[in-house]
Amino acid sequence: MKQNKLSYKIEQYLMFAGPGTALFLAVVIVPFVYGLYLTMTSWDGVSATKPFVWFENFAAAFSDGDYWAAMGRTVIYSIFAVVLINVVSFALAYLVTRGIKGQNFFRAGFFVPNLIGGIVLGYVWKFVFNRAFVAIFSSTSLLSTTEGAMFCLILVSVWQYAGYMMLIYVAGFMSVSKDVEEASRIDGCTSSQAMKNVTIPLMRSSFVQCIFLSITRCFVVYDVNLSLTNGEPFKSSTMAAMHVYNQAFTYKNYGLGQSEAVILFAVCAIVGVTQVLIGKRGEVEA
């Protein structure tokens, strides 16, 4: 049988990648395209009819002040959270690859928060902020002020993701061969110089990956937002994803909510892809 015939190629493709492709089409592509169609209807989410309105929803989305306020909040939250997550997780990874006693235990310990679902985690921290801290410091709850609620969200997100990102950085540290670091030390580098000039550049792909993951996750944060603050006080901690959900399901403007979700997707994709492109540019292949 000729192996470069088209039918052969198709057959082979279907055999190996067919199931995956079918699933991907069914659960990602089709809903996405259907979602795009829904952005052009004024569907309320319940009714049997879906009136077609072209781009009215996008016009409404661009003039929805609450949405853009939530979006601005999400950007601020993401900037703080992404920087902190990566600084903390890098520091943790550094600590648990130094060969300290019980380092596997610490690795596991730092990773555990990531195993707890965001909803549960939010409720646990809500209890800590609202009851435990209030009882210990006899102050008012951090969650009752606008800035405090934001601070709590960032803190909990950092706590949640730092362990996960730490694992990627640990892998990065392990992948850097001891030889090059030792060579730099023989050439006269101090340990911080070796870190800065040898180890970190070689770990660049870990950084690209971690920053990409943390950006995309922070932009669409929902579960922690829901269980920790639920947008309170007075809707001042509603993130973009939560606003989209409320718009579509609670306020029953499904079409409008869907188009706001598409805008959120676009923003998230642009930021994420730009970051990866910039990050990849200087990557060292070792």
Partner: protein
């Protein structure tokens, strides 16, 4: 060799996972038809989470006794969103339990006209649209101020008589001694308290229309101001005055049950939480007193809560519809059905022929007001985003971020673009 075994195992696991998925997918459906068999099967959608266990138990017994297969389903999704997916897949429930406003949006397309049923004459809470009755009220719920009479007695030294509270000043005298709990949830503030401002007007439709077109200035409205005066009394004597916005309802309810505070705005549904504590039986509900002389200080606000409707689509057979109607009649006229509503589920019945005593003290208060005709009806047509948006504004007022004038302005601003639901 080892690798191959591993690969085969992995493949097996994946296949099993897929098989499990497909099983899960099909188990939910397949209960719609059944016209051919001699046994009729009906499905009931329950949206009242706290009675799901009782519903399932009842379904089992009902199936045994009446020879009708009853399956009860529950979903934590938004009611309307869940039903829309069932309708989209042509697999609706025979009977669905929904909120009042869902009847208005769903009935025209999906519900059977129940006007000819016996129970219609025994209730004042059924929902009719254009003269046709579609909604079967499951129970009555009402809002007002929940009091703990023992706590008040301890604080004032005198027996507490809820009917003696007629004015805001009366409430203030008690509140200063015993302390209050104030809700901070957007639904409680906007959908329950602010809504009372609309509902206590003779014609809420006209009042809201007046706010919309500017002919009524909310800031100058007597009812609004008097109700806010009463709210201020609750707010000033709040046990968590400095952190009102982070006071969790469960904590407030615990304090009320344990007698640390004596008053709280809420409804008889709060009993499910209050009941969990070492409570005093001497609790009850009283109207929100306000200084407008229109009798509203003698009335709770409330009415039917949760409605059953029967599916009208071709997916439901006439035999199923008949069984569904029989079931609704069973709830109202059969002793077992009455017992189920009043004793098993601890709900306040919406039917005048049901004379069983309501067990919980809050429900008993509601029943007393309902029987006396002292319930101001719910206004079921507020826009879907009303509770969230106005709730956020109300929360700012509660946290002293804005004053009453700014509060009225922002509510007016909200109404400038909002539309009430069709009715």
């Amino acid at each position: 060799m080892k690798k191959r075994v591993l690969a085969i195992l992995l493949a097996l696991v994946l296949v099993l996972a897929l098989a499990a998925c497909s099983n899960g997918g099909s188990s939910g459906s397949g209960s719609s038809g059944d016209q051919s068999g001699e046994k009729v099967a009906i499905t009931i959608f329950n949206s009242k989470m706290e009675i799901q266990d009782q519903m399932q138990e009842m379904a089992e017994e009902y199936s045994k006794e009446k020879g009708v297969d009853v399956e009860v389903y529950y979903s934590s999704d938004t009611v309307a969103a869940h039903l829309s997916t069932r309708y989209a897949s042509n697999d609706p429930y025979t009977i669905s339990m929904v909120d009042a406003k869902d009847i208005y949006s769903l009935a025209a397309e999906h519900a059977v006209d129940l006007s000819d049923q016996d129970w219609v004459k025994d209730t004042t809470q059924a929902i009719a649209i254009d003269g046709k009755t579609y909604g079967f009220p499951v129970c009555v719920e009402a809002r007002g101020i929940i009091y703990n009479a023992d706590a008040i007695k301890k604080a004032t030294g005198a027996d507490f008589d809820p009917t003696s509270i007629k004015t805001t000043a009366d409430l203030k005298a008690i509140a200063e001694k015993v302390g209050t709990g104030v809700m901070k949830e957007d639904w409680s503030l906007a959908a329950h308290y602010l809504a009372e401002v609309y509902e206590q007007h003779d014609d809420p439709d006209a009042f809201i229309a007046g706010i919309k077109d500017g002919s009524i200035k909310l800031a100058d409205d007597e009812k609004f101001n008097k109700m806010m005066d009463t709210f201020d009394v609750l707010k000033e004597n709040n046990y968590a005055k400095d952190a009102a916005i982070s006071a969790e309802r469960e904590v407030t309810e615990q304090k009320l049950a344990e007698g640390e505070i004596g008053l709280m705005f809420g409804g008889n549904w709060d009993w499910s939480v209050l009941n969990a504590y070492d409570y005093s039986e001497n609790m009850g509900m009283m109207p929100v007193p306000n200084d407008v002389d229109d009798g509203s200080s003698d009335k709770l606000v409330g009415g039917g809560s949760k409605y059953f409707f029967i599916d009208s689509s071709d997916n439901t057979s006439d035999a199923q519809r008949k069984a569904a109607k029989d079931f609704l009649n069973w709830l109202v006229y059969d002793e077992a059905g009455q017992d189920f509503i009043v004793n098993k589920c601890a709900l306040v019945p919406a039917y005048s022929n049901i004379t069983l005593a309501v067990q919980d003290p809050l429900g008993a208060s509601v029943k007393k007001y309902a029987d006396a005709g002292a319930l101001i009806p719910n206004y079921n047509y507020l826009p879907d985003d009303h509770y969230a948006k106005c709730g956020a504004i109300f929360q700012k007022y509660l946290a002293n971020e804005i004053d009453r004038a700014a509060f009225a302005d922002e509510i007016t601003e909200y109404w400038s673009t909002a539309e009430v639901g069709a009715h």
